[in-house]
Every structure is written in structure tokens, then in C-alpha cells.
């Protein structure tokens, strides 16, 4: 195992660490975390480092556990459409030939573990769901160093609590994910993209028309770079004959054209260091998110009720507007990342139902509140 004292790059959202450890196996990770527990060290997990600026800075930090040596595909059982992957593996490095892990990261360099912990998702979430729908088993080292496994390697399995879902999206506040089993999907032999430019008032009816049509898209994405029209891009995948027919039908219904994947496909609309907000809404109310701040660049999985906004200027005011609209539309507005001055001025997470239960979960898994303290909702 490698361990060293921290260097000048070893900080999390501006908070410097004292040590860095890079275990190469679940066993080594258990050893590190056991020792960290004995010394009551505050710990933050680092994968590709693409989302260390997300959430709030840790209240305290002693040790960064880096997963860059915890890499590789442990197993790919093609006939069973599953894989087991170590958490530090870069998502982009995964290649399953005629199959794919339908977990797409908007951020190049992201690791499997980081994508799970921050619960990021890409365009294909519409058809295949998000991390929670793809993870079938997980190995985690708890803050006290205990190695624990839930789920398994088969897609269908209801034995015991599905703790993989609990660790997914937990921002590393409950333990270190070391290994994951996923279900895979076959890569379709053909695909097509149908594009349609739309003015604000057209967006709602167009999204409804896509839902009503029997074309089963893999993704329905939207981009609005600023004031003015948006572009809707629909990805269809399947057999060559099927895709041709579906694309033709959709072109007709939308008055759109078949083209290539647009350059903005699957990327966040904000620049590094900018403010990024995740907006969600009930499906029919996605247009309200667009209308709330017509000048703000917005992009994302409109067909799944998820958009990302990149406010600039008076960010706290815009966040307020967006949040009010999202809440009215049955969803949430979460500031995923923001420069320090914005972070200090806004409520990053907004209202979170069930916070009391969440605190109780944290207390049981990490009684010393040493894992990513303060990074998550409600100061968890």
C-alpha cells in the first residue's frame, strides 16, 4: 500500500489534508480505514478528483483515501450480462465489447466509485435508469474498517437490504466503495438522432409528443445555450430496420431532422470553476424550469425530468428563482458545485425531506462523523 504525507494538491474544496493513502485492494483499504478509525482521522475519498469541488467543503480533513490503485475489471460474465469492477476504475476505460455499462459520466476522468457516490448520470438514464438501477452488488469498507458486501452478482436478488442504493449518492459519507457489480446492456446494432429546434412555448408539447409516440427513445436531451430557442435531441437505438422506421416517424411528428449527436451531448453546461445547478421536475412540468430563468444556459435529460443550469451574474438570486420553480414543479434544485463566494451565499442542497432519518443513518454508520463531515445534506 502507498501512503505519504499530503502535498499541496491534496485538498478538498480548499481544505488541505495531512495524509494520503492509496490502497490497492479491499483488504488494504480495510487496514487503512481501521487505522484511521483508531486515530479518529477525518477522511475524504478521492477518485478521479472531478467532483471534489462539489458539495460543501469538509468541516475537517486529515486523510485522503485515493482510489487510483483500486482499479480493473474483476469479472465480465458476458453471457450473464454482468460485470464486477473495482471502484477506482475510470468509467471511460471500461470496454465490454458488444455490451455496455449504461452509466455515462458527464465528466471525463470520473471513476466508477466517484460516479456512484455523487450519483451522476448521462443521457441513457431515460431508458436504462441511473446508478441505483444498474448496481446489483457492492463491497464497501465502513468507517470503522469493517468490510461489508450487499447484493450479489445476479441481476435478480432480494436477499437482505439493498445497501448499494444507500451508498449510491451518499457522497462518501457512509464508507468507501471498493468494488461494484453491475448489470450490463447489449449495445444496439444501430442508432439515430432526431433533432428539433424549439422556442420556449414549443418545448412542453414536443416533449409530450415524444412520450406519446411509440418510439421508445434511449435518451431525450435538451440544450438551451442562453436566451433564445432550445434544441431537443432524441436518441433512438435498436435494429437497423427498426431505427429507420422509428426515426422517420419521429421526424414527422416533431417536424425535425435526423442528424449527428450534437457536440453538447451528455456534458454539463457550466465551465470548470463555474456554478452548476441540478434541477428536477415532474415530467410534464420540465418547461417551467426553462421558463424560470430564460437567460440561463440549461441542458440535460429533459425526457427524464432532469436539467442542469449554469447561472452567472447574480447567482444566489437565480438559484432562488430556479429552486422556487423546481419545487413548484414537484422537484428540487441542488447546487452541485460553485465557487467559494457563491457557496457561502446560497443554500446548496435546498429543502430535503426525511433529513431526521438520514441523520440517524449517518449516526449508525459513521458515529464519529469522520467521513466527509459536512459535505452532504443537512450538514451530514
Amino acid at each position: 500500500m502507498r501512503r505519504r504525507t499530503a502535498g499541496s494538491d491534496d485538498h478538498v474544496a480548499g481544505v488541505p489534508a495531512r495524509y494520503v493513502a492509496a490502497p490497492a485492494s479491499t483488504g488494504e483499504a480495510a487496514e487503512v480505514l481501521g487505522a484511521a478509525a483508531a486515530d479518529e482521522l477525518a477522511v475524504v475519498i478521492r477518485g478521479g478528483g472531478t467532483k471534489l469541488e462539489w458539495g460543501l467543503p469538509p468541516r475537517r480533513l486529515d486523510l485522503i483515501v485515493d482510489t487510483h490503485r483500486l482499479t480493473g475489471v474483476v469479472e465480465h460474465a458476458a453471457g450473464d450480462l454482468i460485470t464486477v469492477v473495482r471502484a477506482g476504475t475510470a468509467l471511460a476505460a471500461l470496454d465490454f465489447g458488444p455490451q455496455r455499462l449504461a452509466l455515462e459520466s458527464p465528466l471525463p476522468g470520473a471513476t466508477v466509485g466517484g460516479a456512484l457516490a455523487a450519483n451522476t448520470s448521462g443521457p441513457r438514464r431515460l431508458l436504462h435508469g441511473t446508478a441505483r438501477d444498474l448496481v446489483i452488488g457492492m463491497t464497501v469498507v465502513r468507517p470503522d474498517g469493517t468490510v461489508t458486501r450487499s447484493g450479489g452478482k445476479v441481476v435478480k436478488n432480494v436477499a437482505g437490504y439493498d445497501l448499494g442504493k444507500l451508498f449510491t449518492g451518499a457522497y462518501g459519507t457512509l464508507g468507501l466503495i471498493t468494488e461494484c457489480a453491475f448489470r450490463l446492456h447489449p449495445v444496439a446494432p444501430a442508432g439515430a438522432v432526431v433533432l428539433r429546434e424549439a422556442d420556449g412555448p414549443e418545448v412542453g408539447p414536443l416533449l409530450a409528443a415524444i412520450r406519446a409516440e411509440q418510439v421508445v427513445p434511449s435518451a431525450v436531451e435538451l440544450d438551451r445555450p442562453g436566451p433564445g430557442p432550445a434544441t431537443i435531441a432524441v436518441l433512438l437505438e435498436g435494429t437497423a430496420e427498426g431505427v429507420r422506421e422509428r426515426a422517420a416517424r419521429l421526424e414527422k411528428v416533431l417536424g425535425g431532422t435526423t442528424g449527428d449527436l450534437p457536440p453538447w451531448w451528455g456534458a454539463y453546461p457550466w465551465a470548470p470553476g463555474g456554478t452548476g445547478v441540478k434541477l428536477t421536475a415532474a415530467l410534464s412540468r420540465v418547461p417551467e424550469l426553462l421558463a424560470a430563468a430564460p437567460e440561463v444556459p440549461v441542458r440535460g435529460s429533459a425526457g427524464a425530468g432532469v436539467l442542469y443550469a449554469a447561472p452567472t451574474g447574480d447567482v444566489p438570486r437565480t438559484v432562488e428563482l430556479l429552486r422556487a420553480a423546481a419545487v413548484r414543479a414537484g422537484g428540487h434544485a441542488v447546487v452541485l458545485t460553485a465557487p467559494p463566494e457563491v457557496r457561502d451565499a446560497v443554500d446548496m442542497w435546498g429543502p430535503v425531506p426525511g433529513l431526521d432519518l438520514m441523520r440517524r443513518v449517518k449516526d449508525r454508520f459513521d458515529p464519529g462523523h469522520r467521513f466527509a463531515p459536512g459535505r452532504f445534506v443537512g450538514g451530514i
Binding site: 441505483r132 465502513r142 461489508t148 458486501r149 432480494v158 449516526d363 462523523h369
Partner: protein, 483 residues
């Protein structure tokens, strides 16, 4: 007054006498779920009309330290809704309102007692349905589905209950009403909803559930293929998956299961079949047409001696009738039977079936096999006659040996029926003590007093203990020893 008498008196006063069942005869009707050989007469049955009444019931239990068990339709097959003799059975059968149908949002909001199929029936007028379709869908409740994370024949393509539940209002074991998830995706915070689904009533009671509605497919095509043995049927299944086709369902039955189904519902499957496959494709018409030709060819190439293609809805229903009635049907060829539920990696199917055959012969116990072949979920039906000396024990030995095989091949002790009372004893074979302890941490977060459906899921009773005192954030330690 005993604690239970206290609860009874309190609920009579707050909810009214008509919500409370104390008559011994009536209580007996709730003594078991679908796993009928486990029976306990509940201390008290409460029939709340809404979430508030449900919360008041649980709160009364919490105050008096009385255990409570939720029950939907009582079709569970693992003894999950087995009552507690000194406890309260909270039955959701009076909570059957579809609160809201929102096809524009592809959501429905329902009370927990709503019958699974009723959601589909209500949504069908709008061109939608509720995808998870357990064979019991005409009677089982959405609350029970949530608790068991139920699957169905079509979950190969569409996923399980967990993938179709977006939100739930629950009563915590303290008696508080809490919202988990919601109408929009990705609610911030821990995914407690994800953890709640499949928790078998041990984390609280769902009082309202938001489900996803799925667009009714444009086209559905169903194929019945007969094979000489399960080996060829298994090979055909593998070929279909390897070709990258994801059918809505691939179901298999072996000779004995077919014999039972014929005896019970005269489904008229091809004579002389050692195995049949039902393969169903659905989706856009052009897509289904292309893939259906592929699937038919693969069945033929792998030795199918007869193929039938459903020409209309009636024929399709007949194909499915044999499969969906298979559990009850074995009652026609055996006085008693155990419905087993285990999972193996699908590719191990031929080998595991051979091993099941060996175990069956070695103990002189017949096993009929029905399964969701697409995802390796086995439902062996172990046949016996309880009236014959020693047969019950032998059947249980065989049933247990099948579970051991599932574990040996890297599968699971349950794919959809849950752990409940029945399989708690197998949990340590699949999970380590640390794994179980970690699951228990979640249980303690929700239910430190252990009142919600105690004795289920976990093999041995455990206490939660206090949350360890939090250390104040002190100065960082001077020297971290290992670093």
C-alpha cells in the same frame, strides 16, 4: 393491563371499534400468508382507513413497546406477513384508493392496499400500464410489492418494483409520517426509498406509493417453443441473450411442470415436450418484427421441435395460462409442495438443472421446474405427501439443497419472494456476520426498538444498542501511527 391490551384500548378510543379486530375466530383468518405451514394468530388486527390512522396505530405500538406487522393481501410466499402473537397486524385492505393518476407525468399515486393489476387497469385508458407483474398480480397489493421488491415475468426487460417506485410516504416505527423520494427523480440526500423497497416491512409501513407508469407497447409478440429437454431450451435462451436481444420475458417449464399445468388448466402445450419456452418481445412494431424473426430462428437452430406463434390475444393468454398457473397446478399432481425461489447466473442453468435432478433422484423426491429463464430465477416446486412418513423432511432437505446450489453457483437465496420467516436461516450462508451486522445498522437507524416485523429477514434477534457518543471534533491527533 398488558401492553397489547393498552394498545387495543387506545386504538378503540382513537380510531373507533370498527377498525379493530379482537374476535378470536376473525383473528384466525389472518394467521398466515401464502406460506401456509407457518401460522400464528395475531394478538390484534387493525384496519386503518388512511395514513393518519396507520400512523396512530404504529405510534400506539411504539409507546407500549408492542411489535407490529404490516399485511397487504397476504400472498407473500416467505412468511413475511406472519403475525406476532403478542403484536398488532396492520392490514392495508381498507386503503385501496388510487389517489392520483398522472399519465402526463407517467406517474400514479396509490394507497398501499391497491391491487397491483388495478393500477394497470386504471392506466390502460391513457395508454399506460404498471410494469412489474408478479403472477399474483390480480390479488397482491402495491404495499406488499414494495416490501418484497416483487418481480414478475417481464422484469427481465423492465426491472423490478424498485425500478418503478419513485416515492413513498411511510410511517416510521416511531409512528411519524415521512416522505421518501417524490414525483421527480433523484431526490437529494440518502436514497432511503431505495433501501426501504425490499425491506419486508422491517423499516416501517408504506402508506402511499408513487409509481412509474410505462407506455403500453405498440406491439407484443409471443412465441411458444417446445424442446426435447431443458438443455436445448437453455441453449436457445443463451443464444437469444448472446445475440443482444432483450425479450420482455423468457420463461421455461420442464416436463413435470408441463404435466401439472396440463392437468390443471389444459393449456395444450406441444405433446412430448421435455421443456417449453415462452418468449415474448414487445416494443415498437418495426423493432419487434425484426427481432422476432431472429428469436424464432435461434429456437429452431437449438433444437425446438415445435414453434407456435400467438395469433391473437386469446392465444397469447393461453400460452401464459399454463405458466402463470404453474404453482397452483402442481396441486393436481401432488398433495403437498414447496415453492422454492432461488437465483443462479443464467449461464449455469443446464448444469444446475442436472444437479437438481441428481438431488431429486437421490432423495426420491420429485421436483418440477418453472423459471424465469432470462434472469436465472428458478422456481423449483418440490413435491411431497405430508401424510407419508418422512416425506416432509425429505422434501425440505431437497429444497434446502437447491438453495445451497444457488449459493455454490454465485447466485441468491431469493430472487423475488423474499427472506421473511422462511429463509432467515439461510442468510448466513450468503452473507458474512459483518454483512448482516451492516444491514442491521440500517434497521437500527429506522427502528432502534426492533418493533417493525421482528423475527423476519435476520437469522438471529439482535439488539441495537445506543448510538455511540460522538467525539467532539478535537484537535487532530499528533501523529497518526500508520502514516
Amino acid at each position: 393491563m398488558t401492553p397489547l391490551e393498552e394498545v387495543t384500548a387506545a386504538l378503540r378510543a382513537t380510531l373507533g371499534a370498527d377498525r379493530v379486530v379482537t374476535d378470536r375466530q376473525e383473528l384466525r383468518t389472518y394467521e398466515c400468508d401464502g406460506l401456509a405451514h407457518h401460522r400464528v394468530v395475531p394478538g390484534l388486527v387493525v384496519l386503518p382507513r388512511d395514513a393518519r390512522e396507520c400512523a396512530l396505530t404504529v405510534r400506539a405500538c411504539a409507546r407500549a413497546g408492542v411489535p407490529f406487522v404490516a399485511r397487504g393481501s397476504g400472498t407473500g410466499l416467505s412468511g413475511g406477513a406472519l403475525p406476532h402473537a403478542e403484536g398488532v397486524l396492520v392490514v392495508t385492505s381498507k386503503m385501496r384508493d388510487i389517489v392520483e393518476l398522472a399519465p402526463r407525468d407517467e406517474r400514479a399515486v396509490v394507497e398501499p392496499g391497491v391491487i397491483n393489476l388495478h393500477v394497470t387497469k386504471a392506466a390502460a385508458a391513457h395508454g399506460y400500464y404498471y410494469a412489474p407483474d408478479p403472477s399474483s398480480q390480480q390479488i397482491c397489493s402495491i404495499g406488499g410489492n414494495v416490501a418484497e421488491n416483487s418481480g414478475g415475468a417481464h422484469c427481465l426487460k423492465y426491472g423490478f418494483t424498485a425500478n418503478h417506485v419513485l416515492g413513498a410516504q411511510i410511517v416510521t416505527p416511531d409512528g411519524d409520517l415521512v416522505e421518501l423520494g417524490g414525483r421527480a427523480p433523484d431526490t437529494p440526500g440518502y436514497d432511503l426509498l431505495g433501501a426501504f423497497v425490499g425491506s419486508e416491512g422491517t423499516l416501517g409501513i408504506a402508506t402511499r406509493v408513487t409509481v412509474r407508469l410505462t407506455r403500453l407497447p405498440e406491439s407484443v409478440r409471443t412465441l411458444l417453443a417446445a424442446f426435447p429437454t431443458t438443455d436445448e431450451a437453455g441453449a436457445a435462451t443463451s443464444a437469444i441473450i448472446a445475440a443482444g436481444v432483450v425479450p420482455a420475458a423468457i420463461e421455461m417449464m420442464d416436463a413435470l411442470a408441463i404435466e401439472a399445468a396440463e392437468a390443471a388448466v389444459a393449456c395444450g402445450y406441444p405433446r412430448g415436450a421435455g421443456a417449453v419456452l415462452i418468449v415474448e418481445l414487445d416494443g415498437p412494431a418495426a423493432e419487434v418484427a425484426a427481432q422476432f424473426a431472429q428469436v424464432t430462428a435461434m429456437c429452431e437452430e437449438n433444437g425446438a421441435f415445435e414453434l407456435r406463434i400467438a395469433g391473437d390475444e386469446a392465444e397469447r393468454a393461453l400460452f401464459w395460462k399454463g405458466r402463470k398457473s404453474a404453482f397452483a397446478a402442481v396441486g393436481r399432481i401432488s398433495p403437498d409442495y414447496i415453492v422454492q425461489d432461488g437465483v443462479i447466473p443464467r449461464t449455469a442453468l443446464p448444469e444446475v438443472l442436472r444437479r437438481i435432478g441428481e438431488v431429486s433422484r437421490a432423495h426420491g423426491v420429485r421436483v418440477a421446474n418453472v423459471f424465469h429463464a432470462g434472469d436465472g430465477n428458478l422456481h423449483p416446486l418440490v413435491l411431497f405427501d405430508a401424510a407419508t412418513d418422512g416425506e416432509t423432511d425429505r422434501a425440505e432437505t431437497v429444497s434446502g439443497a437447491i438453495i445451497d446450489l444457488c449459493i455454490e453457483y454465485g447466485g441468491s437465496i431469493t430472487g423475488e419472494h423474499g427472506v421473511g420467516t422462511d429463509k432467515a436461516k439461510y442468510m448466513p450462508r450468503m452473507f458474512t456476520g459483518d454483512d448482516l451486522e451492516t444491514m442491521h445498522l440500517l434497521r437500527c437507524a429506522f427502528d432502534p426498538a426492533g418493533l417493525a416485523n421482528p423475527g423476519k429477514v435476520f437469522p438471529t434477534p439482535r439488539l441495537c444498542g445506543e448510538v455511540p457518543r460522538r467525539h467532539a471534533a478535537t484537535d487532530p491527533p499528533a501523529a497518526a501511527e500508520i502514516f
